[in-house]
């Protein structure tokens, strides 16, 4: 009776192995419309098997050339006569100066690119760096987001919150001073002064009838407004007429004596500012007056940094209120609104940033300017010197969290539209969460590179493995007879079960994953081989191999949690292989082993 039961169990086990093998190696086909479709999910393959997108980026090597005449005025290159180039001073400014094109910066750029790729969710990439030229080759899997991902590799990522120039009025600019200097030279005036004054004009707003007459009642009703204007006052000697024209200058007045009333900035201060900034090399600046607090300050313009902080008690600034160093983290969120779905970025500032944003949000609200008008004191959010948004604050931010609405999907919008908007916002968040690139890069060539592992190569490999396994199977059966046959059936069944499991567990197969499969097959064979030898002591063998394979389980669990696809693929594949091994050996191998010992 026992023998009959055993025979039945073994037959059933073999039939199950055959069935699983057919399902795994052939598939399960059902009719779908007019064709047969395999209902088993496909293997999820990495880009090693499918192909990748490769982008090359190179450091920007453009050089901006400016020409200056002997008076220091900039001249367009097209206006310089041939052969007379030597009469002009040539100034070349490289986008990337030579001193930043170092291997250290190339390596730093590479690390930033790798970080961006990880934050963009790319877990399979290659970044190659040319240590001499700084050129990078970036390869990512080819999918619908590849182009978008690659477009995030070149931006510098420099994010700043800056003072909006609408918050202040210009008094004197460096360009004005240059024009003035040239004109004064023409007039042979050596001793002149520049200061800024305020003029208040009363403007009357009147309404007129169609016949252009204004009735007395209407005149009484007319309102008058105080309009403030700022002008440069240029103090010249008496020998120079105050009607003298200065081409290129606006909002100025020539005077023979230095004004004392409504002076916004004295001639002495203007001279000190001009001399000091020329000394430190800040060529482009504006002396401005804040509309709200009336303070005069110097704004360094033209993408330059302020090299001094104060001149004669007057603040010198590049207008930057906060930058990326103050950001702790930026995350994307979305929520329903009355208009649809709003997509926003939550910028969490660090401790220093929290204090700054609290001050800024308190300061940059609706305020009354010097004309008595309530207007918003604004800030600009700038990314890579491009203004993204001009805004003000409704209330003070005390928790260090700034929420910016960056997109809106209407109620009836498709999910794809929402996904795209969220993706764009995520890309922006990635730029905020990574360091600024030390070097400006330009995108070069982009191409799709097919895999070396073509279908033909894979088919040849599979055939080779099958032939090798067939030869080994034949050798085993000849050597061990019935036991050998059961071992072969056990291995084939395990391979089939494992492959079906991997289809359903959504594990991405990489070359490391394939190696894990090979290792698992080998591990299972070692166990089956020893279990077949021991026969009745199968429990001892099982306990022995559980303890031997526990380290492999530890490896698979740790590896599975790593973001890198090669690592996680090995871990996940090995983990599922071990799970399959346990279930398969309990259900099938145990029966085959008991069958191998029966006579």
């Amino acid at each position: 009776m026992n023998k009959k039961n055993n025979t039945l169990k073994i037959t059933l086990a073999i039939l199950v192995v055959v069935l699983i093998s057919l399902v795994s190696f052939v598939g399960v086909f059902v009719k779908d419309s007019y064709k047969m479709k395999n209902i088993l999910p496909e293997y999820k393959l990495s880009s090693e098997f499918t192909g990748k997108k490769v982008l090359s980026i190179t450091p920007d090597d453009t050089v901006t050339t400016k020409y200056y005449d002997k008076d220091g005025e900039e001249i367009e290159e097209s206006k310089i006569e041939e052969g007379k180039e030597e009469e002009y001073t040539k100034e070349e400014t490289a986008t990337n100066p030579k001193n930043i094109l170092t291997n250290e910066n190339f390596e730093k750029s590479k690390k930033i690119i790798e970080k961006r790729l990880e934050l963009l969710g790319v877990n399979e990439y290659q970044v190659r760096k040319n240590s001499n030229s700084g050129e990078m080759y970036i390869s990512v899997p080819d999918n619908s987001y590849a182009d978008e991902i690659l477009s995030e590799m070149t931006p510098g990522g420099k994010f700043e919150i800056v003072e909006n120039t609408g918050n202040s009025n210009s008094l004197v600019t460096s360009k004005d001073l240059q024009i003035l200097e040239k004109r004064m030279k023409e007039l042979n005036v050596e001793d002149y002064k520049v200061l800024a004054i305020k003029e208040e004009n009363k403007e009357e707003n009147t309404t007129q009838d169609d016949d252009n007459t204004t009735s007395s009642e209407e005149q009484d009703e007319s309102a008058s407004e105080n309009k403030v204007a700022y002008k440069m006052a240029i103090v010249v000697p008496d020998s120079v007429s105050t009607d003298t024209a200065i081409e290129g200058l606006s909002d100025y007045v020539l005077v023979n004596s230095e004004p004392t009333e409504n002076v916004q900035i004295s001639a002495n201060d203007v001279k000190s500012i001009k001399d000091k900034l020329a000394e430190v090399g800040n060529k482009n600046y504006e002396i401005r007056k804040d509309k709200f607090n009336g303070q005069v300050f110097v704004l360094i313009t033209e993408k330059d940094e302020a090299k001094v902080s104060e001149i004669n008690g007057i603040k010198v600034t590049d207008g930057v209120l906060m930058d990326k160093k103050d950001i702790k983290e930026a995350k994307v969120g979305y929520g329903s609104t009355s208009n649809g779905t709003a997509i926003f970025i939550n910028i969490q500032f660090n401790n220093a940033g929290t204090k700054k944003i609290a001050n800024i949000s308190k300061e940059y609200q609706n305020k009354q300017d010097e004309e008595g008008t309530v207007t918003a004191r604004q800030v600009d959010l700038v990314l890579d010197k491009e203004v993204l948004l001009s805004t003000h604050f409704d209330e003070e931010i005390t928790n260090g969290l700034l929420q910016l609405t960056v997109g809106n999907a209407s109620e009836g919008a498709k999910s794809d539209e929402l996904k795209d908007q969220i993706k764009q916002a995520s890309n922006f968040a990635v730029l905020l969460n990574t360091e600024n690139m030390p070097i400006k890069y330009n995108a070069g060539t982009e191409l799709y590179e097919q895999t070396n592992l073509t279908k033909d190569t894979l088919n040849a490999l599979v055939l080779f493995v099958l032939v090798a396994m067939a030869i080994m199977a034949i050798v085993l059966i000849i050597k061990k007879k019935k036991v050998g046959l059961y071992e072969v059936i056990g291995v084939v069944g395990f391979v089939a079960t494992l492959l079906v499991t991997l289809r359903y567990t959504n594990v991405t197969i990489t070359i490391c994953g394939i190696m894990a499969i090979a290792l698992a097959i080998f591990m299972n064979y070692i166990y089956t081989n020893e279990a077949m030898k021991k026969g009745k002591n199968i429990k001892d063998v099982a306990i022995k191999y559980i303890s031997c394979y526990t380290p492999v389980l530890i490896i698979s669990v740790i590896f599975a949690y790593i973001k890198n696809l090669q690592v996680s693929s090995f871990g996940m594949t090995m983990f599922w292989s071990l799970c399959t091994m346990i279930v398969y050996n309990v259900l099938i191998t145990r029966v085959l082993i008991s069958g191998s010992k029966n006579k």
Partner: protein, 215 residues
């Protein structure tokens, strides 16, 4: 016998170290600094035919050919060195084979220098997980085989893991096996197998010790 074995292994490691220090590893062309000739054929091609053309020009030099673009009308030839003469010769032969007009031959291909993918970049993602898992495994070994002596078992396991990897790398260096995408999977496999082998051996010793104690 054991001594001879250790001496042989030591010699292998030393020879490998000298080779690596002098000429380095034999890195596969796709992973080393190389030149790429990108050919935009504009029509379908047979990669085996292209490969034979490349071999006829490049001789014994290590080359790789892979398809490019999705319409199967372009391919990339990779070689560590591509002289101007070789580029011209390749262009001529490809143009002849695929009947490319003379006026289109000039723009048929572009040559770019592609930096290598460093071995340390290949290995870097695995360093932390291997360290973490090795620490966890050594702790497990120490607990599981404490009857055999904690220090001894930990040292044996650690030495086995390290030496197995050194041996694999030595074989790569001496046999000049190309370091390519199989390098890291091979190292991982040796890492896992060395742990399993050591565990099986330690389990056997533990069983023998238990039997001795019973007796």
């Amino acid at each position: 016998m054991k001594k001879i074995g250790y001496i042989v292994l030591a010699v292998i490691v030393i020879v490998a170290a000298v080779i690596v220090a002098t000429i380095g590893f034999n890195v596969d062309v796709s992973f080393s600094d190389h030149k790429e000739m990108r050919v935009n054929l504009g029509k379908e091609y047979n990669i085996a035919e292209v490969y034979s053309i490349v071999q006829s020009v490049m001789g014994k030099e290590s080359v790789a050919v892979s398809g490019a673009e999705k319409f199967n009308d372009a391919f990339i030839i990779k070689a560590k060195n591509l002289s101007d003469e070789q580029v011209t010769s390749l262009k001529d032969k490809i143009a002849e084979k695929y009947e490319i007009a003379e006026e289109n031959k000039e723009n048929l291909a572009t040559v770019n220098y592609v930096p290598g993918y460093r071995i340390r970049d290949m290995v870097e993602p695995f360093i932390l997980p291997v360290i973490l898992s090795s620490i966890a495994i050594l702790i497990y070994i120490a607990i599981r085989y404490k009857k055999l002596g904690i220090t001894r078992t930990v040292i044996v396991q650690f030495a086995t893991m390290i030496f197995a990897e050194i041996l694999l790398v030595s074989i790569y260096a001496i046999a000049r096996i190309p370091v390519n995408r199989l390098f890291v999977p091979a190292m991982l496999s040796v890492y896992v197998l060395s742990i399993i082998a050591c565990n099986i051996q330690l389990t056997k010793q533990l069983e023998e010790k238990k039997e001795q104690v019973k007796e």
